[in-house]
Amino acid sequence: MRTKTGIKIFITVLALILGLLLTGCAREAAPEQEPAQEPTPVQEPAVEEPTPVTIRVGLWGSEEELNASLENAQGADSMFPGLTVEIQPFPSSEDFWSNLPAQIAAKTAPDIVKLTNEGAFEFIEKGLFVPIDNYVADAGLDLGTFAQSAKDIWTVDENLYGIPKSVMPAMFIINQDMWDEAGLGEPPTTWDEVREAARTLTQGDTKGIIINLHEFHLTNWILTFGGGWGNGRTINSDANVQALETIIEFYDEGLAITPKQAGFGWDGEVFANLRGAMSTGGWWYKGYLATAAPDINATFIPMPMGTTRGSTSHSDAYVVLKDAVDRVSAVKAAYWLTRDEALESIMERVGINPAKPALASKFYEVNPEFAAIEAMVPYSKDFGYPADTRNFNLLLVQAMEEKILGGTDITVREILDSIQEEFN
């Protein structure tokens, strides 16, 4: 009896100790790992900086891009003594943005992040990213070889917010085989021509054109009519109304499809599965189709015109987060990652147009299918979303889905007017 009682006592006491240990363990606040420092720009020339600094770079992308970046990150010491560039890979953009709030709260976020301009304005306005002109000057860096258009995209109120890595206009993609089979001749240059072609191309399971009800694609359409969101000031402009009404017309005539209707996630899948003959899109189609549908002959052409030439421009850049402790070193790390060899390696392995005109010519050599796009670069603009971008996107997409998938009577003008109200 004593042994059994003993065992029971032992076990319950053990449980008690376990409970207390865990509580005690957890309550013991370990000293802060990184003592908080005031970010002060260092006023010395870059070359004589001996203190070792590690800058963490958050980025994501394909395997090739990851591997290329890991290689590019090494050896920063040679240009900036004492500097180590550490890549902090994220599985995806979604993963980064989901975890960013937590990392900001705990101050474990990376120092610089490679981001696309789409949606970046919101965080520039709200102060998540810092203007880098001062730090660039302090570090003695020359940004002269970077494309002006790319720098313009990353400039807000005369301040530069990122060191650009790439610049690529959006484009229009057509299934050349379907096009030829329908005997359609030259590629289209206006939406009217697209409409004509779509009428012939819509047959069986295939719709003539994929119009993904997603803010990226909608923005491209409005830019081709000379419109723009104007960062929230011109949401309900006549040009915007005209553009979206044209989209509705395409749907009303049964010429268009959005990925949701086909059970897919994005327009590329619809295209690869031959459910759509044409689509707005970007350079990512090339890599995607190469593996997903290598038998398809895709032709890349400039965005068709509504009333004018226009398209969005995608520019990736390295931005500095506001909690970065050593901002000058952060800027140096970004500069290191965008040096000529780095950009060339990315260009070759990943296939993105670098943000330096000197290297860009080689890009069009290596990627001749994008040749027609080069002409669009001067016309390509930033997205112009209002500062509350995520909210805006939600409202815009919801309204368009409501109208097109739900078939309501509300007019485009009413939709844009009500959204404009929210952003006044």
């Binding site: 599985p91 937590a102 709260a105 705990a106 899948e269 997903a292």
Partner: protein, 275 residues
């Protein structure tokens, strides 16, 4: 005495079960089938000649995907959490079911109310604490806060409640203490509840994504499901590879379940009152 059964009825049931079984297995069959295909064949039906183990081989040979390491991480995390759950949840559930202690009602309210608060609410404060303690990217962050689960405390309570009090009375008369009764009488009877908790806790922990993906940022410390999910490209998903990942993650759970469900053998329970 044999169970009362009607033959034709059983056949009818068998047919209905088969129908539903087909529906239940469909997505998994899709996952298996897709995992053997190349990306361009993903949305079409292809013959055996176009199928291969390439995707699986890729997972085990590509240095970017450290599947054996991730497998280890998942297993360790699950084992620790399971051990904690078995001890802590069972004890608390028993206390709530059979013992009268001060604050009993408050504790029960805590158990049920906690389930109503999505973990998202406290995820970030917990993350900040983990950062302060230096537990990020370690097994500690994945296990310590999860050594208990309110839902299983609740579950064990319900199962313990179905143990008749007469049994406990009989045990008292035999000279066992309350604590003794717990270990020697009650536990064996609530065995099916315990098995259930083990199955469900194992599954839930093995498949858990939110917490590991937040607390762990270093590749080598990923758990399996997070690691396999990281194959996403920036602009599109390689569905065939993702499906291979889904299959890899699911197989251990299926094996575990098949082994444990054998314990659900009817007829083991008796009312326990002899004579």
């Amino acid at each position: 005495m044999k169970k009362f059964k009607i033959k034709p009825f059983d056949i009818f049931i068998f047919l209905i079960l088969s129908f539903f079984a087909l529906i239940f297995i469909l997505p998994f069959l899709y996952a298996i089938y897709t995992s053997f295909k190349e990306l361009k064949d993903v949305n079409s039906i292809v013959g055996l000649d176009r199928l291969s183990f390439d995707n699986y081989i890729m997972f085990f040979t590509n240095p970017l995907y450290m599947v054996p390491r991730w497998l280890w991480n998942s297993s360790l995390m699950t084992a620790i959490i399971l051990a904690g759950n078995i001890i802590i949840n069972t004890m608390a559930g028993y206390a709530l079911a059979k013992l009268n202690f001060p604050g009993k009602n408050i504790v029960f309210f805590i158990v049920v109310a906690t389930m109503m608060i999505p973990y998202h609410m406290i995820l970030i404060p917990v993350y900040v604490n983990m950062a302060r303690l230096g537990w990020l990217n370690t097994m500690l962050a994945l296990t310590i806060p999860y050594l208990y689960q309110c839902i299983y405390v609740f579950l064990m309570r319900q199962f313990f409640m179905s143990v008749p009090n007469e049994l406990l009375e009989a045990a008292r008369i035999d000279g066992l203490t309350k604590a003794g009764a717990f270990f020697r009488i009650v536990m064996p009877l609530a065995k099916s509840g315990l098995i259930t908790m083990i199955i469900l806790s194992f599954t839930g922990t093995w498949n858990s994504f939110l917490i590991p993906s937040t607390m762990i940022s270093r590749r080598e410390m990923y758990v399996l499901i997070v690691g396999l999910n990281s194959v996403k490209n920036q602009f599109f998903e390689r569905t065939n590879i993702i499906m291979a990942g889904v299959v890899l993650v699911t197989i251990p759970v299926i094996i575990m379940f098949m082994l444990f469900q054998k314990q659900y053998v009817e007829g083991v329970a008796t009312s326990g009152i002899k004579g």
